[in-house]
Symmetry: none
C-alpha cells in the first residue's frame, strides 16, 4: 500500500483495537449472563458468545498483522514489506457466519427437527457463500472477481429468501412481545451482511490505493460489529424476554 497517511493508519489501527475490545467484552457479557435465561435458550446465547469470541481472536490477529505491515516512526508511515493478511477475515467468516444463522434459528425455538434442518441448510449456504467469495477477493483482475462474486451471491440470495420467507412464517408465530425484536435481529443481519458485497465490489468502480483500503477496512469492521456484537446482544435480549414470558 503506497501513500497511506498517518491519520488513515492510526484510524484503522485504533478501530481494530476497539473492535477486539468490543468483541471480547460482548463474549464475556454473554457467557456470564448465560445462566440468566431459561434452559431452552442457553445454546443460542452460548453460540452468540462463540461468534464474538472467534471474532475477537481474529481481530487480535488482524491488529498484529496491521502493526507488522507498517513502521511508524517520527510521524512517517513506511511499509515494512510484510503483507497485511486480509485472509483472516474470510477464515473468521467461514466459522462465524454459519454460527450467526444458527443462533438466530435457535433463539426462535422451532421444533427440534425443523431447527436442525434449518441450521444445517442455512449454515451450509453461508459457508458456501464465503468459500465462493474468496477466489474473487484475491483475484488480480476484475472479470475473475466478478465471476466468483456472482457465484457467491447465489447462496446469499438463498439465505435472504429463507430469512424472509422460510423463517418469516416462524417469526410471525413468535410471541407478540418479542416479534419486533426478532424482526430487528433479522433486519440488522440482512443490512450488515448487505454491506460486505458493496465493499467487495469496490474494485469494480476502480477504487484503489490508500483511500480504498481505509474505506474497506473500516467498512468491514463496522459491519462485523453490527452483525456479531449488536445482533448477539439482541439475541440475548430475545432470550431474556422469552424466558420471562414462559415463566409467567
Amino acid at each position: 500500500m503506497q501513500g497511506i497517511t498517518l491519520f488513515q493508519y492510526s484510524l484503522i489501527y485504533n478501530a481494530f483495537s476497539f473492535t477486539l475490545a468490543a468483541m471480547a467484552a460482548t463474549t464475556l457479557f454473554l457467557w456470564i449472563s448465560r445462566s440468566d435465561v431459561a434452559a431452552p435458550y442457553r445454546t443460542a446465547v452460548t453460540i452468540s458468545g462463540l461468534v464474538t469470541a472467534i471474532a475477537a481472536y481474529h481481530y487480535w490477529r488482524i491488529f498484529n498483522s496491521w502493526e507488522a505491515a507498517y513502521d511508524v516512526r517520527n510521524g512517517v508511515v513506511a511499509a515494512t514489506g510484510y503483507a497485511f493478511n486480509d485472509a483472516y477475515r474470510y477464515v473468521d467468516w467461514l466459522l462465524t457466519v454459519p454460527l450467526l444463522l444458527v443462533e438466530l434459528v435457535l433463539v426462535m425455538r422451532l421444533d427440534p427437527a425443523d431447527a436442525r434442518s434449518k441450521s444445517l441448510t442455512l449454515g451450509f449456504a453461508a459457508a458456501l457463500m464465503i468459500v465462493l467469495g474468496y477466489p474473487g477477493e484475491v483475484a488480480a483482475d476484475i472479470p475473475t472477481r466478478a465471476l466468483w462474486g456472482t457465484l457467491s451471491a447465489i447462496p446469499f440470495v438463498y439465505i435472504v429468501w429463507q430469512l424472509f420467507s422460510g423463517l418469516g412464517a416462524s417469526i410471525e408465530r413468535q410471541p407478540g412481545a418479542v416479534k419486533g425484536l426478532v424482526k430487528q435481529a433479522r433486519l440488522l443481519t440482512f443490512a450488515s451482511w448487505g454491506f460486505y458485497p458493496i465493499v467487495y465490489m469496490a474494485p469494480y468502480v476502480h477504487l484503489s490505493g490508500a483511500d480504498a483500503t481505509t474505506t474497506i477496512q473500516l467498512g468491514y469492521t463496522i459491519a462485523d460489529l453490527i452483525a456479531k456484537a449488536v445482533v448477539g446482544l439482541l439475541v440475548f435480549n430475545i432470550a431474556v424476554r422469552k424466558s420471562q414470558l414462559e415463566a409467567a
Copy 2:
C-alpha cells in the same frame, strides 16, 4: 523446504490459524454447555473439550513454528533456517488419541467395569500406535519408515477391530434414537484416522518437496478437525439426546 510458493505458504498459514480458532471455539462450547447434559455424560463432554483444548494449544505452537520457518517479505517466501517442528503433531496425538477413544466409550455409558477396561485397553493401544509411528516419521530411509509404520499398524488394526466388534455389540444395545449418531461417530473416527497412515506413506511413493508438504499439512489438519472437533460435537449431541431420553 525449497520452492514453496506464496500461495502454498499462505494456505497452510491460514489453515493453521483457522484450526486453532475452531479447536478453541469447540472447547469453549463443550465446556460451557457441559451442564446442559445429565450427570453421567458430563465426563465424556469434559474430555471431548479437553481433546480440542490440547489440539488448540498444539495448533498455536504449530502456527508459530510455521511462521518462524519462513520470512515472507514483498511477496517472496524465504526459508529462515529454523525448522518447522512437526513433532508437535505426535506429542498432540499421544495425548489426544487415547482420550478420543475414552470419550467414545464414556458417552456409550457401559457398565463401569466394562467402561474402565475398554478405556484402558483402547487408550493403551492408541498410545502404542503413536509411539511406534514416530521413529518411522523421522527416519531418513524408506525401509526404516516402513518397519515402524507396519509395527504401528498392529495396534491400529486392534483398535478398528474393537470399534467394530467389541464396541459393536454395545452400540447395538444403545437406544434407537442415538444408535445412528453413535455409528456416525465411530465411522467418522475410523475414516479420519484412516487418513493419517495414507499421509504417513506419502514418502513410499517418492512424494516430496513443497507440493508434498502442502498436501501433508492440509491433510493432517482436515483429519484433526474431523477427528477432534466434529467427533467432539457429535459426542455432545449423543449426550444431549441420551439425557433427554432418560429424563422422559
